[in-house]
Symmetry: C2
Subunit: 802 residues, 2 copies
Amino acid sequence: MHLEDCESPVERSCCLIELDANDGGNYDIVNDVSSPAAGDCCSRQSSARHNWEMNYQEAAIYLQEGENNDKFFTHPKNAKALAAYLFAHNHLFYLMELTTALLLLLLSLCEAPAVPMLRLGIYVHATLELFALVVVVFELSMKMRWLGFHTYIRHKRTMVKTFVLFVQFIEAIVVLVRQTSHVRVTRALRCIFLVDCRYCGAVRRNLRQIFQSLPPFIDILALLLFFMVIFGILGFYLFSPNHSDPYFNTLENSLVNLFVLLTTSNFPDVMMPSYARNPWSCVFFIVYLSIELYFIMNLLLAVVFDTFNDIEKKKFKSLLLHKRTAIQHAYRLLITKQNPSGISFKHLEGLLRFYKPRMCARDRYLTFKALNQSNTPLVSLKDFYNFYEVVGLKWKAKRNREHWFDELPRTAFLIFKGINILVKSQAFQYAMYTVVAVNGIWILVETFMLQGGNFLPRDVPWSYIVFLTIYGVELLLKTTGLGPIEYLSSGWNFFDFLVTLFAFLGLLTLAFNMEPFYFIVVLRPIQLLRLFKLKKRYRNVLDTIFELFPRMASLGLTLLIFYYCFAIVGMEFFAGVVYPNCCNTSTVADSYRWLNHTVGNKTVVEEGYYYLNNFDNVLNSFVTLFELTVVNDWYIIMEGVTSETSHWSRLYFMTFYIVTMVVMTIIVAFILEAFVFRMNYMRKNQDSEEDNGIVLEKEIFKEEMVAVTELYKINCATSEVAQLQKIIVQMDKYEQPSMLFLGRRSRTKSDLSIKMYEEEIQEWYEEHSRKEEYQQRQEALPSSSNNPLKPLGLRQRSQTVI
Amino acid sequence: MHLEDCESPVERSCCLIELDANDGGNYDIVNDVSSPAAGDCCSRQSSARHNWEMNYQEAAIYLQEGENNDKFFTHPKNAKALAAYLFAHNHLFYLMELTTALLLLLLSLCEAPAVPMLRLGIYVHATLELFALVVVVFELSMKMRWLGFHTYIRHKRTMVKTFVLFVQFIEAIVVLVRQTSHVRVTRALRCIFLVDCRYCGAVRRNLRQIFQSLPPFIDILALLLFFMVIFGILGFYLFSPNHSDPYFNTLENSLVNLFVLLTTSNFPDVMMPSYARNPWSCVFFIVYLSIELYFIMNLLLAVVFDTFNDIEKKKFKSLLLHKRTAIQHAYRLLITKQNPSGISFKHLEGLLRFYKPRMCARDRYLTFKALNQSNTPLVSLKDFYNFYEVVGLKWKAKRNREHWFDELPRTAFLIFKGINILVKSQAFQYAMYTVVAVNGIWILVETFMLQGGNFLPRDVPWSYIVFLTIYGVELLLKTTGLGPIEYLSSGWNFFDFLVTLFAFLGLLTLAFNMEPFYFIVVLRPIQLLRLFKLKKRYRNVLDTIFELFPRMASLGLTLLIFYYCFAIVGMEFFAGVVYPNCCNTSTVADSYRWLNHTVGNKTVVEEGYYYLNNFDNVLNSFVTLFELTVVNDWYIIMEGVTSETSHWSRLYFMTFYIVTMVVMTIIVAFILEAFVFRMNYMRKNQDSEEDNGIVLEKEIFKEEMVAVTELYKINCATSEVAQLQKIIVQMDKYEQPSMLFLGRRSRTKSDLSIKMYEEEIQEWYEEHSRKEEYQQRQEALPSSSNNPLKPLGLRQRSQTVI
């Protein structure tokens, strides 16, 4: 039993409750208030407590910075900065940031050249823009208050944002004054507002990764272009004597066509004129494609993949060490002079109140217990290092009953038990798979028979009703047999549920002949995806897809941001340049043709359709850019636009190709890395095949509970007291001396990485602590007092108060 | 000093020479003949020696089997089998195999539908075929003699070959009898003769790897096709009401077009009719492409890459253990009862005579010394495990002089020394890079100015002469400064040399106006590749390319074998089906058009050229298949052929697409794996950056040399004695007591792997030896006497002899 946690001599007289938890261990709840009756001592403490509140808050901020990978030099330095920090760091503010950024981006729908239905007057959209920009100014001023002028200037991203804001402001005013939109290519820079949003951290990481992968990428690209130039010269010499060959008649054409050939877009065509003349000319093209497409392009992927792997590991390392440093900073703020060896529950509780305000009292105590592995009343630094792993756990009381129906009367219990056994049986599952398979074949055959007939029968087909009934019965059985919560906790069951729901909506659609919703009926085959549960590899692959999804989405968003930039530039330069029957001077005129023949007494429409791939508004531009991304026949779009503008337009298209190539290569590298990583992980841990996330079990004794409740009572936190008393009542009801709680969270990539790099991590830690020791020794010297990594402002103040 | 190597009491009297090599160590050359004078003892030994010869031969065969990864159950079991084995295992026989296989494959050039210039009468080519088949029969009969009937039947590949041979034989006879070629799709099976060649081991390995990667590939392919079917049904429901949309009017069209869309070949076109009607229909295509092309296709690559990595490692492991077993077998044949702890030089020499007949006596002794790390006169099993690493070394006497001109007179020496310093200086190199860069820009500008003019001037341009002179001078300086051997030993210098030579040939071409060779002039820009030496990453990449080359070539050959099969099938079914102005019923009729308009008084030729992509002979088929491999616009070829034949033709094209997709994915996976492996290796060994292959240094003392010479003298091997005496003379000349020799070989993938998996390899070895012990214990039991892994036939016989 220790005397602890009395921060100052003043409080010495009115502190200390000691409690013996009779769990055989020695959990002590140490408090600095002697008893609930000691009311007058509360007021004496208040100033000390206020200082502690500041420490809690700062520690919570450190931990947040650690989690979000924010650099510590942006840490608020004084009380004013702290207020600004708190103002700028909550979901309301983040949402405001996001909405203004989106508003600015969406404005391009309404500005000329606008989407026809959304066109707004110049007054309206310019005012909207100014309004959004003012909001951004407000956000930036808050940031400046928080960071201070010097840090603000040192923060590159913020400076770029400020500059872009300035330009946009001036342009918006110019538009408003001139009452007409000028060439505003700078609108492409609006993306920075979105990228800078707190919620777009993943996009920023992706962009950083793309830029880091660029140097090796550019090297190989140079090799690629070098061979292109060599073959360009060669092709020009070889094929320009052939006057029926339009692809190599000048060096420029030769180079452009070889660039397009790199994307295979013009492949057999570019070869045909020379091939028709001399069959051996195909050797030129085969060699070119073998070197460029099949070798160097794959080398590009290999180099990017390799860099990507390396970066991922480095990123993981720096993030891990950053978190560790954050934990160290927070720890230093939470220990007292009297007890430098650990954090007491009171202080951890104070920290958690700021770090996770929504966490309930019970969970805070469980977090304390989960962290505290040494069975002493204090959490040591070594235990505290697990903070991020433990704080994410979701706690639940472990139930004694196995099924939801255990407490029902005997007859009902037996019925539900029977359903439970049925639902869990192999036979039932395979029967359902058979039904799904039959349904699939049925749909296929049905569709095949429909050929050109009337697809939407007025009456609902009986097969549809039969299958839906079976699925409905299955759903019902599973829900009753497993209980709704257990049923929906499995992703696959949730998927089944959704699909059945959709099928039911489809039935309604059919029954009431609601035309616009008939696509729901068409979604029926999705149900077949259930069949893929059968094989382990598919489960793996689908699980991987599920895990990859957030990252894929952020990569998709990154791509969309590039699209936006290119769409704006495209609109400014190429809006309205392609139209039906344009581009008659180019080789691709056919694709832009739109003719109304009259053959006999029938009008035959000859459509090339390519005039639809234009830059007339943002939406069209996005579709056009997607077509350029897919690459096939992109040269038709390029040549069309080029023939109506100038040769330099090709630069736009080629740049876009290279940019999407970079992003796509990164996406491929990412998928490869994630998949290979997971497979390696599974190979390493073949025993623990079923992976239910991370689970931790903790037991709480009634005495501990009572002590914690007392603590809250003193602090007059009535809602928490009520919560805790409920648990105590429950314990009394079942006459248990203790209660078991399960903490659970899903496994993240970081957990996997920790397990994969186990050995290396120890080395990193050692290296890191060596560096830190060195730094501390440097700090001890008077010269290095402004080292940014040591605890800043607030800490120094609170130290003097204690 | 030990008494050793006396295999039998008979020889006991006439053995043993003991030699003290006075290098401080204790190398003993132990011989079983007492002195050169003991001539009569020679005859007594002859029978024993004959038995030893058998043992040497069998050990050499074991080692060869280990090296070539031949299974030990094909090991020759008796003297007759051994004779057949030796007959079937030499380069002459291998060449015969290869020539007959190539002859059979090349026959398809002359058989109908033949390449016009190479057409042969049916009599001629059928007779040629029969002749080649008879040769194959002979080869197989030799194999049967060597393997024995039972093993022959158990060897799958050989059985397949026999079956194909039988079919081909019958068909050839039928052709000869009927005097006309029938539909001979089975000709596609001729590839097996090539695949079975000894020289095509790499191709067999590739094929095995492809087949091993198939199961996961097929799984993901099923997922891909599943989504295709779902979207096919969806597309049919959504777009078939639009009558101007030819792509989705039936379910079959819908599926085929989505399959083609998977290859992006028909991309914007397939979307256009529905997009023109409702802009939102683009969502369908974007979702489809995102899921199929950008996600599942990459997943396919990831799965194959992962499997590939795994297989590579397993293959390396099994090969390593196989070699180890081979070494153990050989070792057991080379030790004597009296000296079970190692192999003496005499026996190793005997082995090497069979294993590497071209190795000279000096190198055999050096190999012995390199193997023998324990400084005893015997090579222990542990030392012998390094056999494969050591036997590949190329030995060279280490010269004392640094440069080739060290022995020239003083003045000449100073001149050459000056050149040497100049040539090795940074300034000289950068000056040359500048010249190359200027030359490159010059060529580019020159070509750009030529535009449509006369490219081949009658007189040689002065710039060409100037640059060539500079390169010539550089070549001369380097050759004289470094010496021709050192100069050409660097790959980069060799490349420079070749390029300069070509440029010189180009000059001759220009000077004498030799039209057909003018493409050499055009190759000039290749010289620019020298610039890539400048950056480390390029050197790495180019070195990797160089290392990958053999493997890439074998992968290319594998692809060609698939091409051959498909070409034969294509020719049998589609020869002559496409021609100018065919396919008028299909949607791609335009591409097959060939019209001769007369506009005004000019004839305008409107060519679609696609009729050139036909299956009219093997060469055309290969080009067409390459176009299908590149994928772009492949559906035009498919639709053309389909419209002239039947719907089922699509199966051919789709199968081909999937097969090439498999091979291409493997190629990508291979490049990825090789590159990432190399980069990881380099990261692990950052210190030893410059990699000159593996080098081993051994010193030989004159006394040893004399002893070895004596040994050969006894065995009456005069040529070897002469060789060795030359070395002794040389030692005498320079008055050296010893001479240093350097063994050198280039680093192989296997060396890298050994270093990468160092730790795991030890585990494998332990596991392997545990397994073997278990097996030996099993062998000790009488029941398992026919275990295929224990030493076979010959061994047992020779054991009884000893």
